[in-house]
């Protein structure tokens, strides 16, 4: 919690004859994050070279290229397929590769050959149609323009009529803002004619090699294209049928061979000498013991493993999240911004709690919440990768929060529920039912400002914590910590001054006390002093930071978007209801006739379109604004990010098993 998984740095060294055993064991455990060896930056391993792949890498690679080519023909991809109920044993996959691969490959090649040749012909015909296009204004057979012995033919586009100074026969007709010109001149005058034509802005166009008028030929080609597209559809159908048959085998092959290749090429990431190799990498601290003992037993103790010390702040330690299940989906939102660094506080849990609250606060409507919830469950069918699932989990939490806030606000598609809103009223004065005092705008604005104040203060405090934890004790550390404390002082100081001057709902009332200095009361003076001390604190950390002082106010005000965006969403919902129901449907229901029914249908369409749009806007508004408040207003106060993702060497097998 609040910290990533603790890592240990391991150095694994052995003689080269243990290479294969070590790699196999590491791959099986799927724990070891390899630190790639780079020759130009070989600290402590000078003189070592990148290793050579293990035998077999070549063969597996060529088979893999073949498999992926077949997968491409059948448009199968291992990432988009669910793991089968029954995993294929690797030995069986191996056998089947030997037995069946060639036949499957031939079949796929035949399919793709057929498909490609059809596609090429269609493309060729399309270009021909495009080339024929300028000549559609020329009514005669195109073949008549070719094969003259004593005449040269020029065809092209000219901006205006040209009269040539040589004996000629020309045809000209308007075409696409320009003119198609076809000129036939005696060969001996050809050069002269060409010069004159180019002077007149002539752009030559190739005369298509066709027998017939351009119009006829275009019709013929269009007809052919339709026919060929039919054929193409039939081929695609056959390909699809074969895909069903081969898909499981293909992904199993892909997985097996990919694993083989990854293992065989692991030495490319190790440092090697003539006789030995060294692998450097990271393992979660609690797994070191297991990995070490398994490696020892796999190599009969012929491997040297040592834990090396590292600097958790300076070294690029790979980061694996370590959060309770509830917060795991939110890791996706963190990765979109940036993974935390190894040494800093991981705010995932805070985001996982606050984000849904913000979302619900903005889009608090029972109806919308239910629709989003349903939408999330429906989309689960299509989004199968890890990130997609996490996104849907986040959406689920957000929509539940939406429903809860909808109950509080008493909102259902912009209508009110049978009870009055609890605490905050967002019902606008729209439509005939409007009554009461309207929405509590001021209340909401102040409340959201409070949210901002607390959220930002929390952010600054985390920065102080991070500073204390990540920076070595000394002057620099105290400066940073006091600088951050300065920001808090400035904010609360300004607040004190404001409270001493104005009365505001939901805020302490400090106005009305006797003035002590220049018309300002004691609280105000205290606030001013706090602000001043805060400014000194910020300034001693970094003078440039003082330029950012206005953000104290603007970032807090930025949180008022929670109120504003929410209210605009309510407004759209209520306006939609008002237009659709009160203005269109209700008057027609009063005395129903045929025209009325049609108008009612129009009203229903308006109702549906309005709410659909509003839901889309609501996801964007509620989601984006909530996450943006985190990224821009909250994270900028403390979060560094830029941690390296923990990517262990190995793979979870989906389709095969040993």
């Amino acid at each position: 919690m609040f910290e990533p998984q603790t890592m240990s740095k391991l150095l694994i060294a052995a003689s080269k004859d243990q290479l294969e055993a070590v790699v196999r064991e590491l791959y099986r455990h799927n724990l070891f994050h390899i630190e790639d060896f780079v020759e130009s930056d070989a600290q402590g391993l000078e003189g070592c070279k990148i290793g050579m792949p293990l035998p077999g890498a070549s063969e597996s690679s060529s088979e893999l290229v073949r498999i992926r080519s077949i997968e491409n023909t059948y448009s199968v991809s291992p990432t988009s397929m669910d793991a089968g109920e029954q995993k294929m044993p690797t030995s069986e996959v191996r056998q089947r590769i030997e037995r069946e691969l060639l036949a499957i490959e031939k079949e796929a090649a035949a399919f793709s050959g057929e498909k490609v040749s059809l596609e090429n012909t269609i493309r060729d015909y399309r270009t021909r149609i495009a080339e024929l296009k300028p000549f559609t204004v020329f009514p005669a057979n195109l073949a008549d323009l070719k094969g003259f012995e004593y005449f040269a033919v020029f065809a092209g586009l000219v901006p205006a009529q040209v009269s040539l100074g040589v004996p000629n026969e020309t045809f000209i007709a308007a075409y696409d803002k320009s003119n198609l010109l076809i000129a036939v001149v005696p060969r001996e005058n050809a050069e002269e004619a060409e010069k004159e034509l180019f002077d007149a802005g002539f752009q030559p166009v190739q005369i298509p090699d066709e027998d017939g008028t351009a119009g006829e030929r275009t019709v013929w080609y269009t007809h052919e294209i339709t026919r060929l597209e039919g054929d193409l559809g039939a081929v695609s159908g056959r390909i699809f049928a074969q895909k069903e048959k081969n898909a499981t085998f293909l992904v199993a092959c892909d997985e097996l061979l990919t694993a083989e290749v990854e293992r065989a090429e692991a030495p490319l990431r190790f440092a090697t000498t003539e006789e030995t190799f060294v692998a450097e990498g990271w393992v979660p601290a609690d797994m070191v013991a297991v990995l070490t003992s398994d490696l020892q037993s796999a190599t009969d103790g012929k491997v040297f493993i040592s834990e090396v010390g590292f600097d958790p702040i300076e070294d690029a330690v790979p980061v694996e999240y370590h959060n309770p299940n509830f917060s795991k989906p939110t890791e996706m939102l963190m990765d979109i911004y940036s993974r935390p660094q190894y040494g800093e506080l991981d705010p995932t849990i805070l985001v996982s709690i606050v984000f849904p609250i913000f979302f619900g606060f903005i889009l608090g409507d029972v109806g919308y919440g239910i629709i989003l919830l349903a939408l999330g469950f429906y989309l689960r069918k299509f989004l199968k990768d890890d990130a997609g699932k996490k996104l849907l989990d986040v959406l689920r939490n957000a929509s539940i929060s939406s429903i809860i806030f909808g109950l509080i606000y008493s909102e259902f598609f912009g209508f009110s529920l049978p009870w009055s809103p609890i605490g905050i009223n967002r019902h606008l004065l729209i439509g005939s039912h409007a009554g009461g005092h309207g929405p509590d705008v001021v209340l909401m604005l102040v409340l959201t400002a409070w949210v901002g104040i607390l959220h930002i203060t929390l952010g600054r405090m985390i920065h102080m914590y991070n500073g204390a934890k990540m920076i070595t004790p000394g002057r620099h550390r105290s400066k940073v910590i006091f600088g951050q404390f300065g920001w808090i002082l400035v904010m609360w100081g300004i607040l004190l001054v404001l409270w001493s001057l104005f009365e505001m709902p939901l805020m302490p009332v400090l106005a009305g006390y006797p003035a002590v200095f220049a018309g300002i009361n004691g609280f105000g003076v205290a606030g001013a002093v706090l602000t001043l001390v805060g400014i000194i604190g910020i300034g001693q950390d970094s003078l440039l930071e003082l330029m950012e002082l206005p953000t104290v106010i603007s970032h807090v005000l930025s949180y008022t978007r929670l109120a504003a965006v929410g209210l605009s969403s309510v407004a759209i919902a209520m306006v939609t209801n008002y237009i659709a129901i009160e203005l269109i449907i209700d008057p027609q229901l009063a005395n129903l006739n045929l025209v009325g029914v049609i108008i009612i249908l129009i009203g229903i369409v308006i109702f549906l379109v309005g709410h659909t749009l509003n839901i889309a806007l609501g996801i964007l508004g509620g989601g984006l604004h909530s996450i943006r408040l985190h990224y821009v207003e909250f994270f900028t106060k403390f979060y560094k990010g830029g941690g390296k993702k923990y990517e262990p060497f190995g793979k979870l097998l989906k389709f095969t098993e040993d």
Partner: protein
């Protein structure tokens, strides 16, 4: 009597005018800040669309950068709401 009606009418007119100015002010607040946001977003948007077209993973961050100037229009909206209610 006539004087009294006059006064009431004047007061009513004054109230209506005030409400009208408020509405105009609210409109200006949202409209002008909207333009400001638009101006700011146009460059960021071009870059964001470009980056996302090449690398879908950038979508989140690109969207985020694009919405940053929205703060301006939100301020406008807040001012408008305060004026109207």
């Amino acid at each position: 009597m006539a004087v009294e009606t006059m006064t009431i009418e004047i007061v009513e007119a004054a109230v209506a005018t005030a409400a009208g100015f408020k509405a105009i002010g609210a409109g200006l607040a949202v409209g002008l800040t909207g333009m400001g946001t638009g101006l700011a977003q146009f460059g960021i948007g071009s870059a964001a669309v470009g980056a996302t077209a090449e690398n879908k993973e950038m979508f989140g961050l690109a969207l985020l950068f694009t919405v940053i100037p929205e703060t301006i229009v939100i301020f406008g909206l807040v001012v408008a709401l305060l004026l109207l209610f």
